[in-house]
């Protein structure tokens, strides 16, 4: 709960701070759950399919079947990871870490991100 308070106190416009929080506590489920609640309130999260070319965003969660979620997670699409949209469309092209990955429509829709 303390973390959530800290989050709420963070300046509204400094999304970098929020990202830092997500990245720092990526491992603790309860933290991110409360972040998720907070973020629904501030409506800053979006699907990866909604990103524009050149935008970078942090992954919040993956809402897919367990098989797809496992596949994406193993390839590096985990909570807190940053993705850059290189080319929008179906499939789109994103950069995650040092790799370019092509993502089909279903995968794009299933990845929830927080835009910077």
């Amino acid at each position: 709960m303390g973390r959530t308070k800290f989050f709420k106190q963070a300046p509204r416009d400094s999304r970098g701070t929020r990202l830092a929080i997500i990245r720092r506590f990526a491992i603790q489920q309860s933290e991110v759950d409360s972040l998720g609640v907070a973020m629904k309130g501030t409506a800053v999260h979006d699907r990866l399919s909604g990103m524009k070319t050149g935008e970078t965003a942090a992954i919040i969660s993956i809402a897919a079947s367990q098989a797809s979620a496992k596949r994406l997670a193993d390839m590096g699409f985990v909570r807190g990871a940053l993705v850059e949209m290189i080319r929008t469309g179906r499939p789109c092209l994103v950069r995650i870490g040092a790799t370019c990955v092509g993502l089909g429509a279903d995968h794009q829709r299933s990845i929830l991100v927080l835009r910077t």
Binding site: G80, L93, A98, L103, D106
Partner: protein, 726 residues
């Protein structure tokens, strides 16, 4: 002793394998080039017992989804008969992309097998502006880390030394720790697996249990449930429920824990010395993955490829034709007339030689495909064509096997192993033989060269001949669409899978690899010409030569004498004698076993515009399509239609006639033959590969049946339409 090369796709495992063993194996810059286990021996072992090096397909995780990843697991976990567990794992990681690569590496660490990390592509990492501290990584992982540049043979000696030093080293116990709830369930599962007699109780069983528990519906689960019964499935479901109620996500927890560990370790290992710049690869992708320009570039490249296959190879082909004719003439003079002369001239020179004339085209085709594969463009084609593959009910990943099937369906079918969804994979396998492979090229080039005029189109940009060639390549692809859709709606029903594929960094194609690929294919083609095609040509020759009744010779001898006594001019006599000779040869052929069989099937092929010779040649080409060219060469040579003035088979075909003197071939017949060969499945190797990949004879039988029916119907339609138009 054996060591296994394991790592993500495109990390240079095969290049490293070649460097370590001095063995050459096919390398491509797209995920899934290596789809099976390959072995060689370490070059320098300093007097130790030989160490076997096993090259494995790339994988992102121990949680297998695709058939090629299952191969990795079977080797690593020591399943499947002859494949013992390796004594050491060489974890190959891409230094330029350490974060993602270390995920798999940390999984491998827990297998309980000594491990060495080969950090490949150090040069690329440095040029992208990062410095990597290998000793720090070694410290964190608790194993030896050797920086290498496999393509430039840098660091190979150090890697060999590290392999030998680590063979007897204790296993590292550095690994990320999992949340308590996951560990508890894992311990419980390990116990019940050991009690339930799930088998071998080695250290790997814990990581195996983890993959079973955390990958619902995955390879491990289905395998263990098959062995231990439904009870295990219920236990797994119960344990997963407990993990979820403890607030963890079953599918993501492993990735999150491991990536968090990597995130902690990386700052100690990787230092950025220069800010990240947009790499040249990304700049190239701005154009090449563009929905319009990218597709235009792709089509342009394909067009150029086929145009050059036709244009560049023509002079070489003419030279080979000339050489073949000279050789035939030489043997006619050297060997006395009779069965042996006929065997050499009609069977070997006219048959096998006719096929060998197409070596230049095949080399050019492979040159193009090898360059595309090696530079990393193949993965882009998958990306570009993903939405078009949607028409097939498939995704872009199926495009690479289909594109490589344009060279040969056998490696194409094998590379479908990287397709995760079983149904998508099967559909791809079943339509792969419809792609026009290089074995069809001789048929196309022969008939186009003989019957399609070289009219320039589009202001000389492309010839009518090349355009026909391209059209033939399109026929197969166009027919594949409805076939795939029907398969996807009926026998292999399933939802379309979303595209997910890494696009590797572009690199300059290595001339060594490209030339080696051409050499390898050229050799395979010549070997098949020297063995299979040779054998078929001889069988066809024997069927076409025997029984060779003496009565025919006598009848024509009488005619010859009559002509000589008619008292005409010498010139007219020669013409008459040549005509009698042709008649005699034709009579022999009609009386032969082949001729009788041919006349029997003629009614079936007549609606396609074919005479019995074409029909026989088509049936004889069942083992391999290119045989048809050899068979036609032999049949026409035996039939005496390949006379002194004609150069090669093309001219012979132009001169071939029905018994009533009408020419057999015209544009409609040529098109009908080409369409038939574009769609038929006259290839024993493809059918055998389909059986091996799909584990049942039903599938190759289905493939052969549907393709043959399709080919016949399409050839019939082509002929009947074309004969009315032309």
């Amino acid at each position: 002793m054996s060591v296994a090369l394991v790592g993500n796709p495109n990390t240079g495992k095969s290049t490293l394998f070649n460097a370590l063993t001095g063995y050459r194996q096919r390398i491509g810059n797209y995920p899934g080039t290596t789809v099976e286990r390959r072995a060689g021996f370490l070059r320098n072992v300093n007097g130790r017992a030989p160490i076997e090096v096993v090259d494995l397909p790339g994988a992102y995780s121990l949680a297998a989804r695709a058939a090629d990843e299952a191969i990795v697991l079977d080797v690593l976990l020591g399943r499947g008969g002859e494949d013992r567990r390796p004594d050491l794992i060489i974890s190959v990681v891409d230094a330029a992309n350490l974060g993602r690569n270390l995920f798999f590496c940390t999984q491998l660490l827990e297998l309980g097998v000594p491990l060495v990390v080969a950090m490949n592509m150090m040069d690329l990492a440095e040029s992208s502006g990062v410095r990597i501290n290998a000793p720090a990584l070694a410290e964190e992982l608790g194993v030896l880390v050797v920086p290498v540049v496999a393509t430039k043979q840098i660091g190979i000696d150090a890697l060999e030394k590290a392999i030998i030093d680590s063979l007897d080293a204790p296993c590292s116990d550095h690994c990320p720790s999992f949340p308590v709830c996951v560990c508890a369930e894992l311990d419980g599962l390990c116990h019940s697996l050991a009690d339930g007699g799930a088998g071998e109780h080695h250290r790997a069983s814990r990581i195996e249990a983890m993959q079973t528990l955390l990958d619902p519906g995955g390879y491990h689960e289905s395998r263990l449930v098959k062995r231990c019964g439904r009870g295990l499935a219920e236990e797994l479901a119960e344990r997963r429920r407990r993990i979820v109620s403890a607030g963890e996500s079953v599918a993501e927890v492993e990735a999150r824990v491991r990536y968090a560990w990597i995130e902690r370790v990386l700052p100690h290992v990787v230092t950025r010395v220069r800010p990240r710049r947009r790499s040249r690869s990304e700049v190239a992708d701005r154009l090449l993955t563009h929905r319009v320009f990218g597709l235009a570039v792709f089509l342009l490249m394909m067009g150029m490829c086929f145009q050059s296959v036709y244009a560049w190879a023509s002079p070489i082909m003419d030279a080979i034709d000339g050489a073949q004719k000279a050789l035939g003439g030489f043997f006619t003079e050297v060997i006395p007339a009779g069965a042996l002369q006929s065997l050499v001239v009609s069977g070997v020179v006219a048959g096998v030689g006719a096929v060998l004339a197409f070596l230049p085209q095949i080399l050019i085709l492979f040159l193009f495909l090898a360059i595309l594969e090696d530079c990393g463009y193949m993965a882009r084609t998958a990306f570009l064509l993903d939405r078009w593959m949607g028409l097939f009910g498939l995704n872009g990943k199926s495009f690479i096997p289909l594109l490589s099937s344009f060279a040969c369906a056998v490696p194409g079918i094998m590379s479908t192993r990287s397709i995760e969804d079983r149904r998508d994979r099967f559909v791809t396998i079943l339509i792969a033989p419809l792609m026009s492979c290089s074995a069809r090229l001789p048929v196309y080039v022969l008939l186009i060269g003989a019957f399609i005029p070289a009219t320039p189109l589009l202001g000389g940009l492309i010839g009518l001949q090349s355009a026909t060639l391209i059209a033939m390549y399109f026929v197969g692809a166009a027919v594949a669409i409805p076939v795939a859709l029907i398969l996807k709606r009926t026998v292999l029903k399933g939802p379309a899978q979303s595209f997910l594929m890494e696009l590797p960094t572009y690199k300059w194609p290595s001339p060594r690899i490209v030339l080696y690929r051409m050499y390898e294919q050229g050799k395979a083609f010549c070997v098949s010409a020297g063995t299979l095609i040779f054998a078929v040509a001889i069988v066809v020759w024997a069927l076409g030569y025997y029984p060779h009744p003496a009565a025919i010779a006598q009848a024509h001898l009488v005619e010859r004498e009559a002509a000589a006594q008619a008292g005409v001019s010498a010139e007219a006599l020669n013409t008459r004698l040549a005509e009698i000779g042709r008649n005699e040869a034709g009579e022999y052929l009609r009386q032969s076993f082949l001729g009788r069989m041919g006349l029997w099937i003629e009614p079936a092929v007549k609606p396609l515009g074919w005479d019995w010779r074409i029909g026989t040649a088509a049936i004889a080409s069942f083992p391999a399509r290119e045989v048809v060219v050899a068979t036609m060469g032999t049949i026409y040579n035996l039939g005496g239609e390949q006379d002194e003035t004609s150069t090669g088979l093309r001219a012979t075909l132009r001169g071939a006639t029905w018994p009533d003197g009408r020419p057999v071939y015209n544009v409609a017949v040529a098109l009908s033959i080409m369409v038939f060969f574009a769609l038929c499945c006259q290839c024993g190797a493809t059918l055998a590969t389909i059986k091996r990949e799909m584990h049942s004879w039903a599938w190759p039988v289905l493939t052969f049946t549907y393709m043959t029916v399709l080919a016949y119907v399409a050839a019939l339609a082509t002929y009947q339409i074309a004969i009315r138009l032309v």
